[in-house]
Symmetry: C2
Subunit: 345 residues, 2 copies
């Protein structure tokens, strides 16, 4: 399997994976637009493990006890509660030759989309999406995020790990079975890098983490949707999307690797109730979420991980795409008020 190609815009700090591994002929799009629809067999369903690559992580149910099984993960176990598998058509793939980590622009690795691309099956139950999930199952999902984050970040060629979720076909979910995706990249992506640099700059100026400061300043604002011992959920002041919200841990941490059990349970509870509120309020809309984090220890005083939820209730059109300016038809204050009300009717 050859690598996908990694290309940078000739002017901007904008990277594109030319995913020849999942290459399409242009005319395929014409066909696809007339013949859309889901295949009837779900490859993520228990019993269909033969349809996907062997797992890289399995949580097994052994007489009611959960066993995290990495040694036997290559086998196609059937009694799993969580299953993480390589994406059949990965955007980023592991290196086949020793990787010069000093500079991704140097050596034979130049232009290769080296990394990982995995699908995390969140439950054996097709529709156990976070808004509907049983809490213990959602804690397994969080656990699995953290486990994959730990394992993948140990690779010297990995500089960033994007953990994200697409819900609904309009939001890019090509399979309806509850799943997240994990992509490890050989560089820090532009949006996160800009956030990290701006956070660093903010810290230097204010002697305080930008996100810790945000939490402090927003705590009593009308943009708060919910708050508990460990997390605050708020509609950001400059939300790009209608009903957008962020889940921010109160404890300063660069990434979720060191969450304790109570924090993980709280995260699962907060995620579930927030997504449930969105689902109830807006008729189960398509959405994307992504965790923003850093695995660069030098940034640990500056950066603060969080999860951003982007409901897909508007279309980014010509103006947004060619300018990077967004038009949002719902004020974050209204979004927060309605989500809060739906949360606690």
């Amino acid at each position: 399997m050859p690598y996908n190609e990694l290309r940078k815009d000739f002017l901007l700090d904008r990277w594109v994976v030319i995913a020849t591994e999942r290459a399409r002929r242009p005319t395929d799009f014409a066909k696809r637009r007339t013949e859309q629809g889901q295949t009837s067999i779900c490859p993520l369903h228990p019993g269909n493990e033969h349809m996907t690559p062997p797992a890289v992580l399995l949580y097994l149910n052994s007489n009611g006890k959960i066993i995290k099984d990495k040694d036997t993960a290559t086998l196609r176990h059937k009694n799993w509660v969580i299953r993480c598998i390589p994406n059949l058509f990965p955007a980023f793939a592991p290196p086949k030759v020793p990787f010069d980590t000093s500079d991704i622009m140097k050596t034979d690795n130049f232009g290769h989309a080296v990394g990982h691309h995995e699908v995390l099956v969140e439950s054996p139950n097709h529709d156990e999406h976070p808004a509907n999930a049983e809490l213990p199952q959602l804690v397994h999902v969080i656990d699995a995020y953290v486990d994959r984050l730990r394992d993948l970040s140990a690779n010297p060629y990995v500089k960033y790990i994007s953990i994200f979720r697409n819900h609904g076909q309009e939001a890019g979910a090509s399979l309806t079975h509850a799943h997240s995706q994990i992509i490890a990249t050989p560089f820090v992506p532009a949006i996160v890098e800009e956030e990290i640099q701006a956070s660093k700059c903010y810290s230097n100026q204010h002697c305080k983490c930008a996100f810790c400061d945000l939490i402090e300043k927003e705590t009593n604002s009308e943009r708060v949707i919910q708050e508990n011992d460990h997390f605050i959920v708020l509609a950001p002041y400059a939300s790009m999307n209608p009903m957008e919200f962020w889940i921010i841990p109160k404890k300063h941490a660069i990434n979720p690797l060191n969450m304790n059990t109570a924090e993980k349970e709280s995260f699962a509870k907060t995620l579930k109730s927030s997504l449930r509120s969105l689902k109830d309020l807006v008729n189960d809309p398509p959405y994307n979420y992504g965790i923003h984090l850093s695995i660069d220890k030098r940034m640990q005083d500056f950066y603060h991980w969080h999860l951003e939820v982007y409901p897909m209730l508007a279309i980014w059109a010509g103006f947004e795409k060619s300018t990077g300016v967004y038009i949002n038809t719902v004020t974050p204050e209204t979004a927060a008020a309605e989500l809060r009300k739906t949360l606690n009717p």
Copy 2:
């Protein structure tokens, strides 16, 4: 009418218009998702001028001769060939008080989305989209782009003018009648500003405009789709979208204001044939296009206007939205080859 609010992300150089003028209640989205569809009466159709605000620009057909009528533009003429009207729900609106242009962050204008937002009706004929348009009519469209660009950029509070087009409901076109949109903003948007700064940097290093250099280097590349005396059309090396292409003028110019008649006709011809090729190849896909330009004369040696076309054949999902890295499943070389073939069968 109060202003929309202009908000900046607390960390990033990312601006959002909180468009309270077109404000929606969150629950409207639930309704909209179940009751989608077009109203049967087209407000942009000749005879329905009473459904829209008075025009700011009209091209009138007077016994076969085209008259550009600005004086009578406030009247609701019926025999128009081009009609430009303020958007009923503008994202940016003209200032009601004298505007301090020295700093948009200062004074009473702070946080106000001051500017213009117009709809340019491209033809009295509902379906005269650029791919189908008669060439003389498409030249009128280009002429109108330039006329509005000239008029709007004369306002001291206008720092940028975005001319864009959304084709198809999935690409954000809420009306099916052939139309473009024009938005004038009180700041230079992030993507364009980054392009301008990178171009300036490139010019300083290479003693040459980055786009002029690109044209020279790409002329014989497999990414060229078509080329004529005045324009080159190419699939950019790091295309973000399947089948993306850019139309770049060969003559160095910061914006299209000084195009002569031959260049305008050539632009219309190039735009039509390129969009026609896309339409024929991929079954009339939804797309967005946007003109990138600068109205800042200090940048005239550095920046080079062009038009970018983004076919909407893939969904930007959780990974793209939270990282700013794009996955493109069609190589630009394949896209160019197929578009070229469809152009000249």
